[in-house]
Amino acid sequence: DTAVSQTPKYLVTQMGNDKSIKCEQNLGHDTMYWYKQDSKKFLKIMFSYNNKELIINETVPNRFSPKSPDKAHLNLHINSLELGDSAVYFCASSQSATTGTRDFGPGTRLLVL
């Protein structure tokens, strides 16, 4: 009965490759997010979707493209991976766009070689 789940948990890939991370929440929440946590543990919002619509799009390179097929799923596709993309990517959800609480997934550890 995992609330927010992400796959894969670990991702090791070569520079220049394209990869996807999937996220699913079974909480019935309307809003989902992608956060990036760098090597210094700094957490930064990347994207937010509310009922499948993009509502927050931070200054993230165009190589990152989120997709929300339905309000329970938010995937992140990354093209032409670079060394600097190595980080932990967290998916999160909240009841609505005006709810402060975020439920975070376990994270996907991406290492670009």
Partner: protein, 111 residues
């Protein structure tokens, strides 16, 4: 204006001690101030949160103190335990906007 400054970066206390983590913000429009706890290899989890209409909130051994005029808030952990060893993040937001996280404090509680 969008930053949340958190200190200290790391903290070491003995079991039973009261670690205090401080955060400061600039944006007076922020109206939601949560604290998240993150264990190694896990996602952050909400610990406790406060709105600016109260000066203190307590949940179990965790207390948030909030000073609206100083634009500061802090987390106190009473009777700290080794199991409290984790990274703690403060955050702030307007409820209709993105959550801005502090830089994190790594807490180690020794037996």
């Amino acid at each position: 204006q969008q930053q949340v400054k958190q200190s200290p970066q790391s903290l070491i206390v003995q079991k039973g001690g009261i670690p205090i983590i401080n955060c400061a913000y600039e944006n007076t429009a922020f109206d939601y101030f949560p604290w998240y706890q993150q264990f190694p290899g896990k996602g952050p989890a909400l610990l406790i949160a406060i709105r600016p209409d109260v000066s203190e909130k307590k949940e179990g051994r965790f207390t948030i103190s909030f000073n609206k005029s100083a634009k500061q808030f802090s987390l106190h952990i009473m009777d700290s335990q080794p199991g409290d060893s984790a990274t703690y993040f403060c955050a702030a937001s307007k409820l209709t906007d993105k959550l801005i996280f502090g830089t994190g404090t790594r807490l180690q509680v020794f037996p």
